[in-house]
């Protein structure tokens, strides 16, 4: 077990380094620092202004270690990212770390309820559908799931805003208030929309998981010894299906921080998703690569946590 944990952690470190290399390729080698400067300052900026901007943002050095071993952008990129020293935004020169710190709260306020309500809705629903397998209810349920999955998230959001703004006349249609009392008012609609958009796929996925478990021998044994159907559903099938469910949940945790990009941007929630969207609009490469790095880092931690937690939840799993 100990050896496995160490190996898994080391592999995770390797993947982090790989992600950083990929980011370097994309944001330094493919999009040259001069391009970034030009996009930030405009096409007609005089060369000396571009030069000065590149000095200010630390872009005025050779890219690769073989050009200058002590002072190059590749090593600098690794050093800065790994020490969480993200530097200044390319668009308005504000420190990126401050913005991220300000964005985490609102992001979590949206996505944590979304995750738990999502589980609370989709697991009972999928148990129900799996309980009535191969009947009219099952087929109807699956069809509804496919129907819900086929609508673009964008359309859900536009529809919801239309409903609030034009028909229900709740104002405002977007915004955010950090005080505890007012928050639900602004968060209700994005959460409902998020649930609508995600529940179809989740129910369908969990249904498949439950159906797979329900054809196991231990379910037949339970049935043979006279356990009731609801009991089999909860005690035997649900408990054994926890592993895939757990995987799904742990892998969703990073997205709690990076936020639901669309929901945040449309409903005016100043979280990390909104920061990313603003960075795209402003050609702010420094912020963008920081967001990609943070998102990846959380995902890698999540993956390691999932792999290690298998051993805790499922006694059948042995680490060699």
């Amino acid at each position: 077990m100990g050896a496995y944990v160490i190996r898994r952690l080391l592999y995770g470190v390797g993947v982090v380094l790989g992600v950083l290399f990929l980011l370097f390729i994309l944001f330094f080698a493919v999009t040259k620092p001069e391009d970034i400067a030009r996009r930030a300052l405009g096409e007609k900026a005089p060369p000396e202004v571009i030069e000065q901007w590149m000095v200010n943002h630390g872009y005025d050095r050779p890219l690769w270690p073989w050009q200058d071993l002590d002072d190059n952008l590749l090593f600098d990129h690794y050093r800065k990212m790994l020490t969480f020293e993200f530097g200044l935004s390319d668009a308005d020169d504000s420190p990126i770390i401050d913005r991220i710190a300000a964005g985490i709260g609102p992001s979590l306020a949206l996505t944590v309820p979304l995750l738990f309500l999502g589980l609370l809705v989709s697991i009972p629903l999928s148990l129900l559908v799996a309980f009535f397998r191969e009947t009219y209810i099952d087929r109807m349920g699956v069809f509804l799931c496919v129907l819900a999955m086929s609508v673009s998230m964008l359309l859900y959001i536009i529809g919801a805003q239309f409903l609030i703004g034009k028909i229900l006349r709740w104002y405002p249609i977007s915004g955010f208030d950090p005080t505890l009392l007012m928050m639900p008012r602004f968060l209700a609609m994005p959460i409902i929309v998020g649930l609508l958009g995600g529940v179809g796929g989740d129910v369908r996925f969990y249904r498949t998981v439950f159906l797979e478990e329900s054809s196991r021998d231990f379910v037949r044994t339970a049935r043979a010894k006279g356990a009731s159907e609801p009991q089999i559903m909860t005690r035997h099938i649900l408990r054994n299906a926890l592993i895939p469910i757990l995987t799904n949940v742990v892998l969703a945790i990073p997205f709690l921080f990076t936020g639901a990009l669309l929901l945040e941007a449309f409903f005016g929630i100043p979280g990390l998703g909104s920061i990313t969207v603003d960075a795209i609009a402003a050609n702010d490469f420094a912020t963008l690569r920081t967001m990609v790095f943070i998102g990846s880092l959380l995902l890698i931690v999540g993956q390691i946590a999932t792999d290690l937690s298998y051993g805790l939840v499922d006694p059948r799993v042995r680490f060699e």
Binding site: L155, P254, L288, L299
Partner: protein
């Protein structure tokens, strides 16, 4: 395209697609397994298959273009511009600005229309017929889904089968590569790629391809690892067949059902991703995503302009739903795991 004008290339692609479809039908008809599967699929999902077919026909009609043949009195197209069949049907239907579906006068100002009562879905802010724009979106959607899959699936097979079959250093490398790519949140990686590569259709498709091949690569690697150990592969090796021949004749055909399933299931995800990209301002020109994005603020006008977004939204929904249903059907028919009866 070297010496070609884009429209010639588009015509060639159309011919290639038709030949490809013809070959597909031929293969399906000849092989009993596939023939049986196709019949079952048709029996179960007729409506959805017909719907996908309609989209495909519209897309192909919009891909055949030639120059000339524009009447003198049509002013809103460039002379000598290549026009597709769909363009020709809607030639000269451009109005000055908004008009409601089948309206006789303009929406604001009530000025008479040039072609009253003919715009089945109204016109947009520039006076373009919405039905026309919606039909043209079909080709873009098929292109996004199809072109991207053509990039992603061969790439995934090359790396996945190669890694699974040959193992060793190459396997380590591929496994590291896919774990790295899988560790980056999909949408963020997609955005990063497009920001870095530029914003034209091809780079959007390449970016979508790069972000979507990982899952299938992992799947084909795992399948190949299993297949490699089977008796008939050992037998083929014992008979002295070359590695290339073993992979092509004994491994790949056993992945065929996975390729078909992945293609169909990937398709709808790709088209939906493009809608999000359009909203971020990095989508493909002429897509339904761009129509939806352009029309979303018109819902707040008074009176409401709804036909734009309704048309693009329904067209998108129809295609995704039909493809999803066909995809589910294909999976039921082809996947051996779902073949066993209910317990």
């Amino acid at each position: 395209m070297m010496g070609f004008e884009p429209y010639v290339f588009s015509n060639l692609v159309t011919v290639a697609v038709l030949i490809g479809l013809g070959l597909l039908v031929r293969v399906v008809r000849r092989q009993r397994l596939w023939n049986e599967a196709a019949r079952q699929l048709w029996d179960r999902r007729k409506l959805a298959i017909v719907l996908v077919g309609i989209y495909l026909v519209i897309g192909l009609l919009d891909s055949v273009a030639w120059k000339g043949g524009v009447p003198e009195d049509v002013v809103d197209v460039l002379p000598n511009a290549p026009l597709t069949l769909i363009d020709r049907v809607f030639l000269g239907t451009k109005e000055a600005s908004y008009s409601a579906p089948l309206a006789l006068v303009e929406f604001y100002g009530a000025a008479p229309l040039r072609r009253p009562g003919t715009h089945a879905l109204g016109t947009d802010i520039l006076g373009r017929d919405v039905l026309y724009l919606t039909l043209k979106g079909a080709r873009v959607a098929l292109l996004i889904g199809g072109l991207t899959s053509l990039i992603a699936i061969p790439l995934a097979l090359l790396f996945g089968v190669g890694a699974g079959y040959f193992g060793g250093r190459f396997d380590d490398f591929v496994f590291f590569l896919i774990s790295t790519l899988a560790s980056m949140p999909g949408l963020l990686l997609l955005i990063a790629l497009i920001m870095a590569m530029g914003r034209d259709t091809l780079s959007v498709c390449i970016a979508l391809g790069v972000t979507s091949w990982v899952g299938f690569c992992r799947l084909s690697r795992a399948e190949t690892l299993k297949l490699r150990e089977l008796d008939y592969v050992s037998a083929a090796r014992a008979l002295g067949l070359s590695e290339y021949r073993i992979v092509v004749r004994h491994i790949l055909p056993n992945l065929a059902h996975l390729i078909v399933i992945t293609f169909v299931l990937m398709f709808s995800g790709l088209v939906l991703s493009e809608v999000v990209l359009s909203w971020l301002g990095i989508g493909v020109d002429g897509s339904w995503g761009q129509m939806i994005d352009g029309a979303r603020n018109e819902l707040s006008r008074e009176p409401i302009i709804w036909w734009n977004i309704a048309a693009a939204g329904s067209a998108l929904f129809g295609l995704i739903l039909a493809v999803n249903i066909v995809g589910d059907g294909i999976r039921d028919v082809l996947d051996p795991r779902t073949q066993k009866g209910p317990t």
